[in-house]
């Protein structure tokens, strides 16, 4: 449900990065999204296409990579991969998980075109 605000934050960062690299156009954006963010990929793609309108990223492809959930048990320090609906520690049986992955939204890479590249034959 918060895909639009995520899309706006992605576009802000991508456009800033493109500016630093003197890009004239952005072709592709890769983001890794934690399963606990409960993002619906289709909704994010739609929001991204709206958020990129009239920016350097207009028309860019958005690639979404899933990030699995990883947790460390606060009781026994065991590191494990819980399912989104069950956080029981396989070692001690408690559900006292400190989430170390699966809650992030990470910008991984941006493919863009610079002025010099555009001038190449």
């Amino acid at each position: 449900m918060h895909e639009m605000s995520i899309a706006v934050q992605i576009v802000d960062q991508v456009v800033e990065l493109a500016g630093q690299n003197n890009a004239t156009r952005i072709d592709e954006v890769v983001v890794e999204i934690g399963l606990m963010q409960l993002v619906v990929p289709e909704a994010l793609e739609m929001a991204f296409s709206v958020a990129t309108e009239s920016t350097l990223a207009e028309g860019a492809r958005l690639k979404i990579v899933e990030q699995e959930i990883e947790a460390v048990c606060r009781d026994c320090d065991h590191r494990y991969k819980p399912r989104i609906d069950c956080y029981l520690c396989p070692q001690c049986g408690q559900a006292n998980a400190r989430i170390v992955a699966g809650n992030d939204i990470i910008l991984k890479s941006v493919v863009c075109e610079t002025e010099q590249e555009a001038q190449l034959p």
């Binding site: 956080y87 990470i106 910008l107 991984k108 890479s109």
Partner: protein
């Protein structure tokens, strides 16, 4: 050209949240982020919590809603500083909105800040506001299947309040099912059954709040 980056998209929010947390800790204030579906009794719980904390523990509330100032007006009647944040189309509060809300509060004289999030069981779970503890509410009329349907919210809770517990006798609400679902997600958070109407369990909630603030202040000293 391809630019490889590994940058957290939520870093802007997280940085503001951390600044909020430090600002609140400077004045020994405990911030509680209240999250639940709309109509589960967040505002009503605060209406009974704040007068009960009394003059020993002055409170303020930042309350988020898409529209209207109704909640702030209700809480204002409980003689508390209450600031409404209208998120417009936003389905959750973010740290910048809280930072803005803090500017209007006299933080030095407060013991607790309650941040009443937008009623929603999905999006608020993803945004750190700078709170110290997360309180998640589930009201009996919502039904006993909600914990399993919204696991992320309950997994991250520091305390879980079963509200409107006075209705448990008249509704088909399977308490054991709820407790069993919570036990797979979160064995750390205490579960407190409360009714703002009858006052049941409010003393336990107040004791939990006081203990959290005491622990927090002790770690700062």
């Amino acid at each position: 050209m391809k630019i490889n980056v590994v940058e957290n998209v939520l870093k802007a929010n997280d940085a503001v949240a951390e600044a909020n947390r430090r600002r609140l800790e400077q004045v020994h204030l405990l911030a509680v982020n209240l999250m639940s579906s709309p109509g589960s009794g967040k505002t009503t719980l605060l209406e009974s919590t704040i007068p009960a904390l009394g003059t020993d523990f002055p409170c303020a509330v930042l309350v988020g809603d898409l529209q209207t100032t109704r909640d702030a007006e209700r809480l204002g009647r409980a003689a508390v500083q209450a600031t409404q944040i209208n998120t417009g189309k936003g389905c959750h509060l973010d740290a910048a909105q809280v930072a803005e809300g803090l500017k209007g509060l006299d933080l030095e004289r407060l013991a607790f800040l309650f941040i009443e999030n937008v009623g929603n069981m999905v999006c608020p779970a993803s945004y750190d506001l700078g709170e110290h503890v997360k309180a998640v509410l589930l009201s009996v009329p919502e039904g006993d299947d909600k914990v399993a349907k919204y696991p992320v919210l309950f997994q991250g809770a520091d305390v879980i309040l079963l509200t409107k517990i006075d209705l448990i006798g008249v509704l088909d609400f399977d308490r054991d099912r709820v407790l069993d679902d919570i036990s797979k997600l979160n064995t750390r958070a205490p579960i407190i059954e409360v009714s703002s109407k009858t006052g049941q369990g409010i003393d336990k909630w107040l004791a939990w709040l006081a203990e959290q603030r005491k622990q927090r202040v002790e770690t700062l000293e």
